[in-house]
Amino acid sequence: MDKQFFNSNKLPFCPGCGHHLISQNTEKALSKLQMDPKDVILVTDIGCHGIIDKFANFHTVHGLHGRSVALAAGISLGLKNKKKKVIVFIGDGGATIGMQHILEASRLDLDLTVIIHNNMLYGMTGGQASGFTPKGFITTTTPQESRTRNYNICDLALSAKASFVARVIAKPDFSDIIVSGIKNDGFSLIEVLELCPSYALKMNKNMKLSKILEDLQEEEFVKTNPNYKWDFYTNSTENLLEDIKIFEKKYNNNVNKTLCIQISGSAGEGVQTAGEAFSYAAILSGLSVNQRGSYPVTVGVGFSTSEIIFSPENESTYSVNTPDIIIITSTDGFSVNIEKLKNFKGILYLDLSLQTPQTEAKIIRYDFRKFGPKNSAIFALFYVLKDLQFFNIESLTEALEKLNLKNKVSFEKFKEDLNF
């Protein structure tokens, strides 16, 4: 078995760069674990650390800045294979931009190991400050010292319940920590504090990583949370069509051309459900139907419109120029139709409580709200069906049954009131 993890001893970083130590220790850890290189997937992203993949003998995935943890999460979820080890190399810049991905992987305790190359600035783009730059640190964009504090990524990951979190200062041998991280059957985060000689050391003379930690009142550590296991969400059906209602034609209809009813009322008053019941009834009567809803985003506030096109043809159209019938059961439904009603020439069924709009329509008024707001839309449809006789009113009763609604509306009162 080819146990070489890198194909060169000369890694592509500036002399003295802490990235060397991380790569070497990762290699050491993989050797200690006797891993087959082809069981290792290294996910990197943008930053000096990412150039390493060219030198790797394992699988490599080189992604977008800061997104490597999410990309690796997808790989880990897809492989679901304990033998395979997914390792992420990311910088402090990437960890800043992709922090959500780190927290998410911690929360779900996904099986991967993230090694943050924290040199406290953006090396590749010219030494700018990152979210990991500590107060007092000089970078090219904070030439008079950074005035803001840094993220504590280990604390964040621990509070999101990552099962293995370590902070370590880059040193010749910290491979045992990486071994433990890789062995952990869950999410492992290892923050390695290291130096970028090309920027950090030039601007912060004599800086010492241990001193930085001390000033932050922080230290190196390894901490764990219990491993968290959860089952994947799998399907509850092998066929969506299996349990679907089949409508057999049971009633006759008196419809000889495509017609459109629009019912408008208030959200939360059952307009869409009423439209659905009417559609069911039309299908039970051998018609084809197209039902569109229109309403604001917030469920339960404002207007709600249901447009039902029904047709004796095999397939109903998707839209018509204008409805033949408009039903309005509330003020919300009224306001939204004021413009439309001006040129409307069909039949307008209007609740008694509403004022007379400017319209060319024939107006029929009735107290649709007499059985309460929640009954208004469905009651209005019963009324209209009784009035216009498109099809047997029984079909609408059966539709209510199919929708398990018959007991939820004041059905007996409808019957009495409308005498059917």
């Binding site: 082809k38 977008l64 997808g74 969400y233 998707y318």
Partner: protein
């Protein structure tokens, strides 16, 4: 003939069932109107569902799953799609199969979530840095909800690329009666991975310019996926000839294979007037054509289902006509601009609308006025 079996469902239902039958394995999503039914049905039907915390994560998880050999899908609308774009570029460059359903709604910005539109075509056309086309399909009817998604999935696998399915609120949230017996059987995609013992070169193209795929689960060969400019081995390069050829190949493979995934519906009726349309405007256009023909006005209809890249077949059809009407539910006439450029030719009429579905009469009037 078997009697009809009527069901009453929305378009999302058919889209997800057809994708599942064709072999889509994972849905990853973040809720957004009007794509929520697609999420809902997927979570019941697809073998696996993952709930992402945002749309960037969605596309990244999908990419990871795709790289490990799974076929992922998602569904979103503009605000979520906008977040996905950088990652779609990544998946396009890494050559990862996946399907992204874009259920359009009225923009700009968050616009109106519960109002239909066909306003994202130009965005999709221009979303890849460098202007490379991504195979994009448009759903124009309930029948398409069943027929088109499996073709989209197949294209994504055959071409090793993300593909987009454009639809809108008017399909994903509209209920229709539908004959169950009209649904054709869908065969599960037969997916093949690289099998040879010869060294695997991740981005070495075959004759059709598509490299063979090998998932990260393999132990036989080293596999690389790379988002930055890279050579055939998948190793980062600044701008070597090989690497630039590899990048240019991404366009070539999409165009070279276009004939194998060009789907459209063309009804010829004389060579006077041609209505070109896609997405939700197709049904009104169809109605208008029917009524115009009843009035003895001859109109042909081209419903475009493979909308990007634009097939030369569409231009062959267009060239036969005196007058062209492009019907689409956006303000500027996006497909018209893609077909004819920013200056609309004299014999081309744009028929557009926002916030309301284009009316049958509106189309008829334009045809009569200009015809």
């Amino acid at each position: 003939m078997e009697s009809s079996k009527k069901i009453f469902i929305n378009g999302s239902f058919l889209i997800i069932e057809s994708l599942a039958r064709a072999g889509a394995e994972v849905f990853i999503g973040y809720p957004i109107t009007p794509a929520n039914y697609l999420y809902l049905y997927s979570s019941k039907r697809l073998p696996l569902t993952f709930h992402a915390p945002d749309e960037i994560t969605t596309l990244q998880w999908m990419s990871g799953l795709s790289a490990s050999g799974k076929l992922p899908i998602t569904a979103t609308s503009f605000p979520g799609f906008a977040l996905m774009i950088e990652s779609i570029n990544m998946a396009f460059m890494m050559e990862l199969p996946m399907v992204i359903i874009l259920a359009q709604r009225l923009g700009p910005s968050t616009g109106t979530a519960t109002c239909g539109a066909s306003g994202d075509l130009l965005l999709v056309r221009g979303m890849i840095s460098g202007g490379y086309p991504v195979p994009t399909f448009s759903i124009s009817s309930f029948q398409d909800c069943w027929d088109i998604p499996p073709k989209a999935l197949e294209t994504s696998v055959k071409l090793r690329t993300p593909v987009i399915i454009l639809t809108s609120k008017e399909i994903t949230m509209t209920n229709r009666s539908f004959d169950l017996n009209s649904l054709k059987e869908i065969k599960k995609l037969d997916r093949k991975f690289y099998e040879s013992n010869e060294n695997y070169i991740p981005y070495k193209p075959e004759k059709d310019f598509v490299p063979q795929f090998l998932p990260l689960s393999t132990t036989k060969h080293q596999v690389r996926f790379t988002a930055s400019t890279h050579d055939q081995k998948g190793i980062l390069q600044h701008s070597t000839r090989e690497a630039l050829e590899n990048t240019a190949r991404l366009q070539k493979k999409v165009l070279y294979n276009l004939k194998n995934y060009t789907y459209f519906d063309y009804q010829e009726d004389g060579y006077e007037n041609l209505i070109i349309t896609y997405d939700v405007s197709s049904s009104v256009s169809q109605e208008a054509v029917r009524e115009l023909r009843n009035e003895k006005i001859s109109v042909s209809l081209l419903v475009v289902k493979t909308i990007l890249p634009v097939s030369e077949i569409y231009y062959e059809i267009i060239s036969k006509y005196k007058r062209i009407f492009v019907v689409e539910e956006n303000l500027s006439g996006q497909f018209c601009e893609i077909l004819f450029g920013s200056e609309t030719p004299k014999n081309v009429v744009k028929i557009n609308s926002i916030g309301n579905m284009i009316g049958i009469d509106q189309i008829k009037e334009e045809v009569k006025k200009n015809g």
